[in-house]
Subunit: 156 residues, 2 copies
């Protein structure tokens, strides 16, 4: 029950990219957060494959958001990096062993799987309710010129 550590990096990068007005290279994002650039690239590639960010190659290239920040939810980022499959997978052990339940009585998922599914959907709903734009606004808070200095550092 442990989430991939790269999810945190990907979310921070998404917030930073929402403030940038031009493509930002992965190396720049890495030294901004003081993390391994090679490994951060892996997370950004996952975001790119999911269609959340767009990659621009060549000179003055980098990554930029493919959609407006208020159209990208936290769940989108989490699923892109960590996988979209639910945490719990029912192996149907009720159909095994000497007292196996007959298949005709297993048309619906077992109560355990249903309970897990409900909890999983609640978790996803909570993450779907927050967008990258919401995170960015909370990060800045009252000092609105935080984005200005960030842009200046990104372009320098």
């Amino acid at each position: 029950m442990k989430m991939s550590g790269g999810v945190e990096w990907a979310l921070h990068c998404a917030v930073v990219l929402s403030a940038a007005d031009r493509p930002v290279p992965a190396v720049r994002l890495a030294e901004l957060h003081d993390v391994s650039s090679s490994y951060l690239a892996k997370q950004l590639q996952a975001l790119s494959r999911a269609g959340l960010i767009r990659a621009a190659q060549g000179h003055a290239g980098g990554y930029e958001l493919a959609r407006p920040a208020d159209g990208i939810t936290v769940l989108d980022v989490v699923e892109a990096v960590d996988g979209a499959q639910p945490a719990f997978t029912c192996t149907e052990i009720r159909q095994r062993g000497p007292l196996a339940t007959p298949p005709e009585a297993c048309l619906r998922p077992c109560p355990i799987a249903r309970t897990m599914s409900v909890a999983d959907q609640a978790w996803r709903a909570a993450l779907r309710a927050v967008t990258v734009a919401d995170l960015a606004q909370e990060v800045t808070g009252d000092n609105t010129d935080a984005f200005t200095v960030l842009r200046g550092w990104l372009t320098a």
Copy 2:
């Protein structure tokens, strides 16, 4: 973001134990579900350490629920087997790098950690709302004598 596979076994065992009227050995539970008895023992030990089930040693020993089935929630079992720590852990990368946020501005968790925490609490609340007794009742459904044949197989 993957849950330990033993959680499913532990939950099924909890439901079975709620129907038993005497201690059930781990080997019996293992062959009932057709799983590795040695590995299932590890999960049962975790439940025992958490105080959910009680172990009786010696001849005619085994495991039995330490509390009434309606007093054990699904969350209790999940936390006992898979750990109680939340899936997301904030590493405070906002305090690192050239544009590090000063510590005096980090008195509260960052928005990302807050969002994850809210989602985690929603997930836990959904699991806390279901007890082992609820699962047992749903498993039996209309054929109420399912527990009778189960007890007969456990004692035989």
